[in-house]
Assembly symmetry: C2
Homo-oligomer: 240 residues x 2
């Protein structure tokens, strides 16, 4: 049986300040939890309506009604697990890195993490204003990809200043990405949903690229940040 | 002042059966409404807290409190318009066509319509189980692109059977899309979020393609349908 204090400790993890304070995040659903259990992440506790048969000493069987009290989902999905937030790792140099500048939407961040995983990008760096990757909506949207992509929150301006890698950013007036030779290592910056890349970061972009628009003159102003990431990562990787 | 019956007639347009019955759909926000006003779509009525200065005979000034009563948005955005659903147009042959098979998520359909607009794809055909493009969430997600893409709901199986064009579909065991010569005309089929392309439609696919996965063995199982569409449309158009 779940105690009132357990319910309180779990549900407050919806807020970033408690995730940071407690060093814990929430994952839900058998599929996502299984992917996380098979990774380097450390399970803190598992609340489930069906036994997983693993990590039994950390498993607590609960009822559907109890799950409903702690779940962040509209339709709770059999189990909820608490995992420890891993320590931020050093960012290796000489790798291809995706960098996010003020990406706010959890669904977009989740999709970008899945894309990094798909295209073999192991390093994702985010400025501190980008949405927290341990936000429950991001964890659900990544479908387990979070275990295979190293996400770091940093001072993006300082990071780019200190780096020797070429910095790519997408702008309407950039060079046609389809006709640009793209290197194997470098940093690809994606900006905010509404405002794009911020002026401080734009000043540090060394290679301005653009995804050409094929539609009529009046066409849509911009692509969504997740679809732009899909097209750009495909371009960086397709020739390799 | 809005009457009770006006409120009822507008709010029930959230349901497809009333949109079909009345031949009317809802668009919200000044930017989206302006894009629709500039298109071939016919305005039925405009409810707004600020005058648009156009189509004045169809404009009704309302208060913020009234807007709240008819809006489908959490944060209503100054105006709500009713437009007539246009008659379905004939689908031209000898064009590049995107076809959707059971796409259910309004956000995904909205993103795919924006991508068609960006890449100059004028024809989007959907099987009748695909989410309605006049769903308010789709209209908001398209950001006006709906005015530049001709969306048709059809019996997809019969359509593909009757077509002479090559039919492309993405499957894990398909040919590497980066190494495939893609034609200027053809039909690109995208499938359901969870189940992919249905068996009846798969049987009609003439060219099986795949987006290669660059990550580790354990990598994410599939891309989201909207990001897959982004990458595939980019591949079809990049060489042109």
């Amino acid at each position: 049986m779940l105690s009132k204090s357990q319910i309180k400790v779990i549900t407050r993890l919806k807020q970033k300040k408690y995730r940071v304070q407690d060093g814990i995040f929430v994952a839900e659903g058998i599929k996502v939890i299984n992917e996380l259990l098979e990774s380097h992440l450390e399970l803190q506790q598992l609340f489930t309506t069906v036994s997983f048969g693993t990590a039994l000493e950390k498993e607590q069987l609960i009822t559907e009604a109890e799950l409903k009290k702690i779940s962040f989902l509209k339709t709770p999905n059999k189990a909820l697990a608490l995992f420890k937030i891993p320590q931020q790792q050093a960012i290796p140099t000489n790798q291809f890195v995706v960098a996010l500048d003020n990406v706010r939407d959890p669904g977009n961040l989740g999709t970008i993490i899945r894309l990094c995983d798909w295209f073999g990008v192991e390093e994702l760096v985010c400025n501190t204003e980008t949405v927290d990757c341990y936000n429950p909506k991001v964890i659900q949207a990544t479908m387990g990809s979070i275990t295979r992509v190293n996400v770091s929150y940093i001072d993006l301006e300082s990071y780019l200043k200190a780096s020797n890698s070429p910095v790519f950013g997408a702008f309407m007036d950039g060079d046609n990405v389809y006709k640009t030779t793209l290197p194997e290592t470098g940093i690809l910056v994606l900006g905010n949903e509404a405002n794009g890349i911020s002026p401080e970061i734009e000043a540090l972009v060394t290679n301005r690229i653009a995804i050409p628009r094929f539609g009529a003159l009046q066409a849509t102003e911009s692509l969504n940040v997740a679809t732009a990431t899909a097209i750009l990562l495909s371009e960086f990787k397709r020739g390799k």
